[in-house]
C-alpha cells in the first residue's frame, strides 16, 4: 500500500464495478482458509490490484471441528484504488460451515453476499454452532444475498477420477471455493495451477485433484449455474508507481530488513530467538538465510535468546532477538545489561493482546509502556514502530542503524496484525540504501598511551565497539556502574549521576539524527490532528482521507520514532486545537504525549483483538469537529 499513488480523483469506477471489494473466507481451522486466503492474495497482487489482508485465526492448532471457537478466517480488501486496511465490513463472506457463518455474519455488510457450503450444514454442525434451525432455511439471512449449495458434494464429484479417500477428497474443498472466487473476480488460474503442481510435486495425484477442484469451482461460476445471484467483476489494476512488485508479510519484511541492516552495517547477524506466537515467523525466515551471514539460535528460553544476542554483539556480530510481550518481559533484565554495557542490539516485539498469555493470535498495541519503561533503573532505549508490512522493512533497517551508531539496544515494535498481514511491496534496489559500516576500535584510544578507554564517548555519546580478540585492548565490562572512559567499576555518587545522565543524553540525542516529524495527510496546524503509531496507520489514513474529502479540517500525524520522538513533534502537536490518539490499548501513547509535551491529547481506544475500522475513526473525527 505504501507505494500506491493516491488514486483520489482518478477512480477507476465504471458501470457498477466498485473501487474495492472486501472478501472474507471463513471455515474450520482445518479447512485451509489461511492457505486459500494467501493464494487469493497472490492472485490479487498479480492482477495489479492494491490490497491489504487480515488473517484472523484461533490460537488452537486444530480446534475441535465445527466449533465456534475453531473458526479461522482470512479477510482481504482489494481494489483499483489505494488500499490501506483489510476493510471494515466484508462484501462477500465465504462460510465453509455453520460456525463460520455464525461467527462472521455480524460483520458482513448489509446486502453482502454469503456463499455457504450446504454440505456442512448438517444436524451435527448446526448443533455445534448452536443453531436450532438451519439459518439457510429459516429466512434469517434475508438481509443478505445467499448463495447456498453443496460445495462438499461438488468437490467430491470433481475429484472422483483421482480415487482419493473421502477425507482427502474433501480437503480439496478450499481449492473449489478458491476457483469460484477466482471466477468471480476474473482472475487467471495459471499461477495457482503452477503453485499446486509445485506444492504437490511429490504427489502428482493430489496436485491433479486440487487443480480439478479449482477448475470445477471456476467452471461452476462460468457456466452460470449459480443463477443471476453473482455477476463476474473485474477490478482494474490500482495505479502504482512503476517498478517490480511482490507481496510481503510483516514477518518477512522484518527478516529482510534485518538482513539488509546487518549488511549495511557490514556485520554478520546473530539472531537468538525462542518460539512464541506471533514472533516465531521471523526466526523461521532467518533460519533459511544463512548465506547472508545470518546465524540463528533457538535458545532454551527468552532470557537466553536475548543474552546470547548480547554475547554475540559483544563478540562483534549484530545481535538481534525477537519475541512478543510476555517474552519481552522476560528479557527485561538483559535489556538493562545491554543499556549498561552499551552494546548494539535489535529487539523486535511482535505485540499481541495482553496481559499475561492474553490473546496470542490477536493484535494489540499494548506494549508501548513496556517498550519505553519496562526495565529497572533509568534505562532509556530507542523505540521504533512499524505501520505496515512494507514499512516494517525500512523500520528494521533503521533499528539496525541506530543500534550500531549509538551503541544501544533498539526496540522495534510491530504487532500480530502487521506480522501476518500481506500487502504489495515495491521491491527495493539495495544499491539505493546508504550504508552505515561499523568501525571497530583496533588501536588504543587512550590519549596518553595508558590503558584503553572502552567508555570514552564520541560526539554522539557512543562508546567504541571493541571486539574481544583485539590485541592490546583487553578490558572488562559488566552491569555494574562504571567510571567514565575506563569503564572500571565505580559506583560513587558523582559517577552514577554522570553516567545516568550520559546514557540518557545519548538516547535523547538520537532525536537530532532521525527525520523530522511530518504530517502524513493534511496541514501543519488546524482544528484536529489524529495522531497514531504502528498498525493503526491504515484505518486512520482512510478515515482522514474521507473526512478531508468531506471538507473537514483534520490532519493525520503518524509517529514512527516513538523514542526519542522527533525534535519538532511538540511544536507540531501544539499547532492543532484538538488531538485524538487512536490506539489498540487503553491510551498509552496518549499518556506519553501528554507527559512529554503537556498537550491535551484525547484517547480513542479499542482492545477487542481486532483492528480499528475506518468508520470508528471517522465517527471520532465527526464527534470532535461537531
Amino acid at each position: 500500500m505504501a507505494t500506491v499513488i493516491d488514486a483520489g480523483a482518478q477512480a477507476h469506477s465504471t458501470d457498477n464495478t466498485p473501487e474495492a471489494v472486501v472478501v472474507r473466507f471463513a471455515g474450520d481451522s482445518g479447512d485451509g482458509m489461511q492457505l486459500t486466503g494467501g493464494q487469493f492474495t497472490l492472485s490479487t497482487a498479480l492482477s495489479g490490484n492494491d490490497l491489504a489482508t487480515f488473517p484472523d485465526f484461533p490460537s488452537e492448532i486444530r480446534a475441535p471441528q465445527g466449533t465456534l471457537f475453531g473458526v479461522s478466517a482470512f479477510q482481504i480488501n482489494f481494489g483499483s484504488t489505494e488500499i490501506t486496511t483489510a476493510g471494515d465490513q466484508p462484501d462477500v463472506l465465504v462460510a465453509m460451515n455453520p460456525a463460520a457463518l455464525k461467527v462472521n455474519l455480524p460483520s458482513l455488510k448489509a446486502g453482502g453476499l454469503i456463499i455457504a457450503d450446504t454440505g456442512e450444514f448438517n444436524k451435527r454442525n448446526l448443533e455445534k454452532a448452536k443453531y436450532e434451525v438451519s439459518p439457510i432455511d429459516d429466512g434469517s439471512l434475508a438481509k443478505w444475498r445467499l448463495l447456498a449449495f453443496d460445495i462438499s458434494a461438488l468437490t467430491l464429484e470433481a475429484v472422483k477420477p483421482f480415487g482419493l479417500g473421502n477425507k482427502e477428497a474433501l480437503r480439496c474443498k478450499n481449492m473449489w471455493t478458491l476457483g469460484l472466487a477466482l471466477w468471480m473476480f476474473d482472475r487467471d488460474r495459471q499461477p495457482l495451477i503452477d503453485w499446486l503442481n509445485d506444492k504437490f510435486k511429490k504427489n502428482p495425484v493430489l496436485a491433479e485433484a486440487n487443480i480439478a477442484a479449482l477448475n470445477a469451482g471456476h467452471a461452476y461460476g462460468e457456466t452460470a449455474e449459480i443463477g443471476g445471484q453473482v455477476k463476474q467483476q473485474h477490478l482494474p489494476p490500482a495505479p502504482q508507481s512503476p517498478g517490480l512488485y511482490r507481496t510481503i508479510t510483516g514477518a518477512e519484511a522484518i527478516s529482510l530488513g534485518l538482513v539488509a541492516g546487518a549488511k549495511l552495517a557490514d556485520l554478520p547477524m546473530f539472531f537468538g530467538g525462542y518460539p512464541i506466537t506471533p514472533a516465531s515467523a521471523i526466526l523461521h525466515y532467518l533460519a533459511k538465510m544463512k548465506e547472508f551471514g545470518v546465524t540463528t539460535f533457538q535458545a532454551e528460553d527468552e532470557i537466553a535468546a536475548v543474552a546470547s544476542a548480547i554475547g554475540a554483539s559483544y563478540a562483534g556480530s549484530l545481535g538481534v532477538t525477537s519475541s512478543s510481550g510476555p517474552g519481552i518481559a522476560l528479557k527485561g533484565e538483559a535489556l538493562g545489561l545491554a543499556v549498561m554495557t552499551e552494546l548494539p542490539l535489535v529487539v523486535v516485539n511482535s505485540q499481541r493482546g495482553g496481559p499475561s498469555t492474553g490473546l496470542p493470535t490477536k493484535t494489540e498495541q499494548s506494549d508501548l509502556y513496556q517498550a519505553l519503561y519496562g526495565r529497572n533503573g533509568d534505562t532509556p532505549m530507542p523505540v521504533i514502530a512499524a505501520r505496515s508490512p512494507a514499512d516494517a522493512f525500512e523500520c528494521a533497517i533503521e533499528a539496525c542503524r541506530l543500534a550500531v551508531q549509538f551503541m544501544t539496544p533498539v526496540m522495534l515494535l510491530t504487532d500480530g496484525y502487521i506480522g501476518n498481514a500481506a500487502e504489495p511491496w515495491k521491491v527495493p534496489d539495495p544499491a539505493t540504501f546508504t550504508p552505515f559500516p561499523v568501525t571497530f576500535l583496533t588501536e588504543n584510544n587512550a590519549p596518553d598511551g595508558g590503558k584503553p578507554l572502552p567508555y570514552k564517548r564520541d560526539e554522539k555519546g557512543a562508546r567504541p565497539w571493541i571486539k574481544p580478540g583485539t590485541p592490546g585492548l583487553m578490558h572488562r565490562i559488566g552491569g555494574i556502574e562504571k567510571a567514565p572512559d575506563t569503564g572500571d567499576i565505580d559506583y560513587s555518587p558523582a559517577v552514577h549521576q554522570m553516567q545516568t545522565d550520559a546514557r540518557k543524553d545519548k538516547v535523547d540525542g538520537i532525536a537530532h539524527h532521525i527525520p523530522a516529524q511530518e504530517v502524513s495527510q493534511g496541514t501543519q496546524g488546524g482544528k484536529l490532528a489524529i495522531v497514531g503509531w504502528g498498525s493503526t496507520f491504515g484505518p486512520i489514513h482512510q478515515a482522514v482521507r474521507r473526512a478531508r474529502a468531506k471538507g473537514q479540517d483534520v490532519s493525520h500525524i503518524h509517529i514512527r520514532h516513538i523514542w526519542p520522538m522527533p525534535a519538532n513533534l511538540g511544536d507540531l502537536l501544539k499547532s492543532y486545537d484538538k488531538i485524538i490518539v487512536p490506539e489498540m490499548n487503553t491510551g498509552q501513547l496518549k499518556t506519553v504525549l501528554r507527559d512529554q509535551y503537556l498537550v491535551d491529547a484525547r484517547p480513542l481506544n479499542k482492545v477487542s483483538g481486532q483492528p480499528f475500522t475506518i468508520a470508528e475513526i471517522e465517527a471520532a473525527i465527526d464527534a470532535a469537529l461537531a
Binding site: 495489479g48 511482490r246 539460535f297 559483544y314 572488562r476
Partner: protein, 356 residues
Amino acid sequence: MNEMTTIKTTLKDWESDQEVRWCPGCGDYAILKAVQRTLPELGADPAKTVFVSGIGCSSRFPYYMASYGFHTIHGRAPAVATGIKLANPELDLWLVTGDGDGMSIGGNHTMHFLRRNINCQIMLFNNEIYGLTKGQYSPTSRLGTPSPTTPLGSVDRPLQPGAFALGAGAPFVARAYDTSKNLTDVLKAAHAHQGAAFVEIFQNCIVYNKDRFADFTEKAVADQGQLWLKNGEPMLFGSVKSGGFKGIALDTEKLALKVVDVAVGEDGKPDWQAAGVLVHDVTNRGVAHMLVELPMGPFPVALGVIYDDPRPTYEGAMLAQDEQARAGKTADLAKLFAKGQTWSVAEEDQGPLSGV
C-alpha cells in the same frame, strides 16, 4: 580451548589493575591465583581469552583478570557465553559461576550449555551459601543448614553439581577445592578438553559458611577424606600413616561403590588388585555418576577429572551446518528481495505487465 599459537606470559600479565575486593581469607583468592598461574603454562593469549560471569562473589572474577571479561547478570552467563562462542569460536572462553548463580537462578542455562556442549571451561565455585546477599542457604547447602531464610535449618535436599552436570550431558566433569595444589592440573585438563568442561571447585566462604569443607580439606583428614582420580590408575586413598590404604571397589550385588581396605604387599606398596579396587576410566559415565554421588563420611570426596569423553561441540556442528548451507550460494540482496512471485508496473500503463 582452541588450537592456538601459544604465547609467553607470566602470572603478572594476567593480573588486572583492579583491586581485588573479596573478603580477606576468601577461597576465591586461591582460585584466582591458580587460574593466573595456569594460563601462562597453557601459553594462553590474554587478547583471545574471555572470562564471562554471572552475579555473585565468584562472578567478580573477570574484573581481576587482564584479559577480556564480561560480568553479566544473575544466572545468564552461559547464555551470553553461547552467543560469544557462536559469534567468534576462536575465543578461549572461561565461565565463572557459583552454586546460586549456576545451579539456582541460572540452572536452566547451565543445563543447556552443558547439553549443547559449548567449548568452554566452566568453573563453578561451590561454597554452599549465598555470600554476596549475606548468607542465605543455597541449592547446594546441606540439609539442616541454618541461614537468615532458614532459621530452623534448611529442609530441602541439596543438589550435587557434578551429578547435575553429568545428567545434563556434560562431556567433562571434574572437581577440586580452592587451596588444592592439584587445582592447576584440573584446570589444565579442563582446558585440554574440546567442549564444555565443568569444574566444580569447593570454595571456603570465610564469612557465611566458614570451613564447610574442612572435614576433607584439612591436612589431618585430607589423606582419608580425598580420593584423587587419575585416568588408568586405581582408585586408592589413605596411607599407612593415616590409618591404612583404602580403595573404591564395586559392590556387585548392590551395583554400588564401596570402600575396601587395601593391604600393603611385600613390596611395601598397596596391593589394590587383591582388594578388587577399580581402575579409573574417565570415559565410564556410569561410574562417574556413582563417584560424584558418594556421600561424604562413609566415602572420601572424589576429586580430579571424574569424567572426560569428548564429543562434537555445538558451535562446531552448527557453524559447519551454516557453512554447508552457504556453500555455492551468493549473498545477493536484490535477488532475495525479489523472491517469489513478482509483477511489474510500467511507467505508461500503470498496470500489470506480467505475472511471473
